[in-house]
Amino acid sequence: MPTAAYTITCSADLARLIEAVAAERDREAFTALFDYFAPRIKAVLMRSNTSPAAAEELAQDAMLTVWRKAAQFDRTRASASAWIFTIARHLRIDVARREQRSKVLDLESTEFLEPPPQPDEELDAGEREQRVRAALSHLTDDQIKIVRRSFFEGKAHGDIARELELPLGTVKSRIRLAMNRLRDLLGELT
C-alpha cells in the first residue's frame, strides 16, 4: 500500500509528486506517477491507432521524459495532467514525423517562446483548471464525443466518420462547431 505522502486524490497531489521528483529525485514519488499516468498514456495512444506494443513503449518513454524534465514543471503555469498530456503529445509527434524532433512543440524550444507576462489574458493554472472543467461540462455529450476523438485522441476525420457512422462533411462541421463552442465557453466563464 502506498504511504500517505504518495496517495493521489487530487490534482495538487500529482503536482507535489512531480516536484518531489524534480527536487529530490524521489523514486517512490516517480513510481506513484508511473502507476497513475503510464496506463492512461498507453490507453490514449491505443485509441489513436497505435499498436499495444508501441503504446506500451511510448508510455514508458513518456515517463522517462517526466523523470528528465520534472524540473521544468511549474504548477502555476499548468496542471500536472496538462503537463503530462503535452509530453505524450511530443512523443506522438516524434513518431508521426519519423523521429524528426519537432522544434516548434519541443519542450526545450518552448522556453524560447517564453511570453511576456500578460496577466489579463493568461490565467493561473488553478483558475484555468476550474474554467476548463466548467466549459467541458457545458458541452453536449455529442460535442464531448467529437472533441475527445479529434482533439484528445488525435484521430483523423475519416476515422471519426467511420467510427460514428457519419458522413465526412458532417464530422468536419461538428468538429468546427464543437471547438468554436468550447472557445466561446472558455471566454465566457471568467
Binding site: 490507453a43 515517463m63 503555469r77 499548468a78 503530462i84 505524450a88 503529445r89 519537432s102 516548434v104 512543440l105
Partner: protein, 215 residues
C-alpha cells in the same frame, strides 16, 4: 495585440499535435505575439490533461515499472536548475538566419518589390513554408489556392478583403477565400506563410509571376 487569429480548429490541431509541422511553425509565431491564443492553447492542454485523468487506464506490461526504474540509474544528469529562462526573444528580427530554430534560405526576388525565402521544414507531405517580403504599396495579384494558406505577419502590414493585418496577425484562409492583398503603410511587410496545394494567380501580372511563385 493582434486582432486576427487562427481558426479554433487550427489551434486545436496545434494543441493536439496533429497539425503539420509547417503550419505549426506559423501558429507558434502567432502565439509568440498573441496572449489570447496562448491562453486558449493552454486551456486546450488543460482539457487534454483532464481527459487523460478520466480515461479508462490500460494495464502496463508486467515489470514495466521495474524496467523503467532500472533505466533511471543511467540518467546521471541532475535536473536542470535553470529550467525557466524568462528571456523574451522576438520571433523575428531582420538579421536572423533562423526562425524559431528553422533554417532560412536566401532572399530571392520573385517580382519587382517582392522577395521570397524558403523556410526549411524537414517533414514531408506537409505545407510548403516560406517568407515573403513586400515593398510598401505593392499590390499582390489576386489569387486563390487549391489547399489552405496560413499566414502570420512578422512586420509591417497588409490589407485585403478580410481587413488589415499587422505584426502578429494571422490569416487562416481556406481554398475558397480568394484575395488580393495590398501592402499598407510605408514599411516593408514580411509574412510567414504555410501553403498547401497550388497557388493560383489571376490576371496578366499573375500569369507572368506564376512560374516564379511556384515554390
Amino acid at each position: 495585440m493582434s486582432r486576427h487569429h487562427p481558426k479554433s480548429t487550427t489551434l486545436a490541431e496545434f494543441a493536439a499535435g496533429t497539425l503539420d509541422e509547417g503550419r505549426s511553425l506559423v501558429v507558434a509565431s502567432h502565439l509568440a505575439m498573441c496572449g489570447k491564443c496562448r491562453e486558449y492553447v493552454s486551456a486546450l492542454e488543460e482539457a487534454g490533461g483532464q481527459m487523460l485523468a478520466e480515461i479508462a487506464p490500460v494495464a502496463m506490461a508486467p515489470g514495466a515499472a521495474a524496467h523503467v526504474m532500472s533505466l533511471l540509474d543511467r540518467e546521471t544528469d541532475a535536473p536542470s536548475v535553470q529550467a525557466r529562462k524568462q528571456s523574451v526573444m522576438p520571433v523575428w528580427q531582420p538579421e536572423q538566419k533562423t526562425l524559431l530554430g528553422y533554417e532560412l534560405g536566401p532572399w530571392r526576388r520573385v517580382a519587382p518589390g517582392l522577395r521570397h525565402r524558403v523556410v526549411k521544414v524537414p517533414s514531408e507531405g506537409g505545407a510548403r513554408v516560406f517568407m515573403l517580403k513586400a515593398a510598401p504599396g505593392l499590390k499582390i495579384p489576386g489569387h486563390n489556392h487549391t489547399g489552405t494558406e496560413l499566414t502570420c505577419v512578422l512586420s509591417g502590414a497588409f490589407i485585403h478583403e478580410g481587413g488589415r493585418y499587422a505584426a502578429g496577425d494571422c490569416d487562416d484562409a481556406d481554398h475558397d477565400d480568394g484575395h488580393s492583398p495590398v501592402i499598407d503603410g510605408d514599411e516593408e511587410c514580411i509574412c510567414l506563410v504555410a501553403m498547401q496545394g497550388e497557388f493560383k494567380l489571376s490576371g496578366l501580372i499573375g500569369r507572368l509571376m506564376q512560374p516564379f511563385v511556384r515554390i
